[in-house]
């Protein structure tokens, strides 16, 4: 069949040309505005591109791996990496656990009005991050915030959520869990619906309790979905930016400065583009490593 198609009948040539024409605009856009910049970023990270080079590219020098060496010796990089991994590990785990719990509840046999609840749970996902981050900033306000007013009503001491280095990242995680809850929940719910009902019937015939069904049927059958959700959540979490940008500007101190926020500040505030590009590539390497582990170790099939 393939051999037949390879021989150039007029129709084949026509499809060939049409195929190229139809794909060309998208491919050209991706080549010029994505592939080329990514390749350029790699080169950029090997230069001392700074504010002087923005004005006069002739002053640009090739510095080899100096930016990476500087990065590894820079405490602010390790701090940002630590913050990002903290957010990904703690925030990601809480987020996945909350969504899994919510999906189990929503798909429970006794649940009602599923469509309504699913819509409500999903609403925070579509909201604009900058807008809801501003809302949460006020919910976390030490004096007027609803959260501290609730603590006060319960007789508990007030917490300076965004002003205390120990609480600022947990506060950002709170916003992230709230906002992403519905996204993973929808994926988990679809995974739950795909588990054949016969498995539960067989388990019941064997006398399995509700808890045993969850442990021995639901969770194992859901494993491919769970691996996928964990991987995608991890990749998304590593790109943390707008939450700290709006809520804390990376502070207090450096407590919430993430890798992307550090890259943004180095690149677009101080115009150390070479150094910022090195940060971007470290982020890329971490995301690629996470994807590799996900695919090889946990057999996640897709990353779209």
């Amino acid at each position: 069949m393939a051999a037949l198609e390879a021989r150039g009948s007029p129709l084949d040539e026509r499809t060939q040309r049409a195929g190229l024409c139809f794909a060309a605009p998208a491919l050209a856009a991706i080549a010029v505005f994505f592939v080329l910049p990514v390749a350029a970023a790699l080169l950029l990270s090997l230069t001392d591109f700074d504010i002087y080079a923005v004005a006069d590219p002739a002053s640009l020098r090739f510095v080899g791996l100096a930016n990476y060496a500087r990065l590894l010796a820079d405490p602010s990089f390790w701090n940002a990496l630590g913050n990002t991994l903290y957010f990904a590990a703690v925030g990601g785990t809480l987020s996945v656990a909350a969504s899994l719990g919510g999906a189990l509840l929503l798909e429970a046999p006794l649940a009602r009005a599923r469509g309504f609840f699913r819509t409500v749970y999903f609403l925070p996902v579509v909201t604009t991050l900058v807008a809801v981050a501003i809302v949460w900033r006020f919910l976390y306000h030490p004096r007027i915030g609803l959260l501290n007013r609730a603590l006060d009503a319960l007789g508990l001491p007030a917490v300076d959520w965004l002003g205390d280095p120990a609480w600022a990242m947990p506060a950002i995680i709170g916003l992230a869990v709230w906002k992403n809850f519905g996204w993973n929940l929808v994926i988990f719910a679809a995974g739950l619906q795909a588990i054949p009902a016969q498995l539960y019937e067989a388990a019941r015939l064997d006398g399995a309790s509700g808890w045993q069904q969850l442990r021995h049927v639901t969770l194992p059958m859901l494993l491919p979905t769970t691996s996928f959700v964990v991987l995608m959540t991890a990749i998304g979490s590593l790109q943390l930016f707008a939450e700290p940008y709006v809520m804390t500007q990376g502070g207090p101190g450096d407590a919430t400065r993430s890798l992307v926020l550090l890259m943004y500040e180095q690149g677009f505030r101080w115009w150390n583009l070479g150094f910022a590009a090195a940060i971007a590539f470290v982020l890329f390497a971490i995301v690629a490593a996470a994807t590799w582990v996900g695919r090889r170790v946990f057999a996640v099939e897709r990353t779209v």
Partner: protein
């Protein structure tokens, strides 16, 4: 009896989660309607004493939010139109038109999906600057011209269209462009609505790239305008909440209207192989 208890318990838990999801949004709406200063007064109020639209008026008359709203609408619509055009054509080509290098390109695109967008951002800014597109709408739209996710979303859908249907149109004398516009596109309507909703919401909510490209206040979309409003009006909670409502409301309405299509897009990306 036990069953009834369990049923009530389940419903109670579902409602509690709904309150968790909705409370910050409802509080945002409530505060946006409060007279100035009421949100910060003691004792705390959950509802406005005398609801007022004064802050919304201020956003439109005193502050540049009407302009930002128009910018957002324009940018998100243009991104959607451009994305639909290029991605549907490419998705169709990758599904049905065998051209040289197609399979290798397809594998390369899937591999490139792993690359976080921020990696391209610094050189992309230099490129946009070289092209003279800093502080223009075009500069913001450049990354939305095509998306790998969009191409594969359409491709997957088009794969299910029988070849016989396309060949029948060709035998009737239709050119390739006509096959695409008259046969493929109408059949693709559901996936185009899905992709369109995705693109529009993504473009409306986008923050980092417009922040980088647009320093001119007159061109900034809502999220960027809102972030600078926060810088200038941090103590005016009521005004900030009105601005947040203005930013969030259109996407919430759009989502509720088109949620079936939107959710299908998420699942297309996660479950089907």
């Amino acid at each position: 009896m036990k069953r009834r208890w369990l049923s009530a318990l389940t419903l109670g838990a579902l409602v509690a989660l709904a309150v968790f999801s909705l409370a910050p949004l409802l509080w945002m709406v409530s505060v946006s309607l409060m007279p100035a200063g009421e949100a910060t007064a003691a004792p705390p109020r959950l509802l406005p004493s005398a609801p007022t639209l004064a802050h919304y008026e201020a956003l439109f008359s005193r502050l540049p939010l009407a302009r930002a709203f128009a910018n957002s609408l324009l940018l998100a619509s243009a991104a959607t139109a451009l994305g639909l055009l290029t991605n549907s054509a490419a998705g169709y080509a990758f599904a049905k038109l065998r051209f040289r290098g197609r399979d290798a390109l397809s594998r390369a695109l899937l591999a490139a999906l792993v690359i976080p967008g921020q990696v391209a951002m610094l050189p992309l800014f230099l490129l946009v600057k070289e092209l003279g597109l800093v502080n223009t709408y075009a500069g913001v739209l450049v990354p939305s011209l095509a998306s790998i996710f969009g191409i594969f979303l359409v491709r997957q859908y088009v794969l299910a269209i029988p070849d016989a249907l396309l060949d029948a149109a060709r035998l009737d004398g239709a050119g390739e462009l006509r096959v695409f516009t008259a046969v493929v596109l109408p059949l693709c309507r559901p996936v185009l609505v899905t992709l369109g909703t995705f693109t529009f919401l993504g473009a409306w909510n986008d923050f980092l790239w417009p922040l980088v490209v647009l320093s001119d206040e007159a061109l900034q979309p809502l999220p960027v305008a809102l972030a600078s409003l926060l810088g200038e009006h941090a103590p005016d909670v009521e005004i900030l909440m009105a601005g947040s409502v203005l930013t969030v409301l259109p996407v919430v309405v759009l989502f509720v209207a088109l949620q079936r299509h939107y959710l299908r897009g998420i699942l297309a990306g996660s479950l089907r192989g």
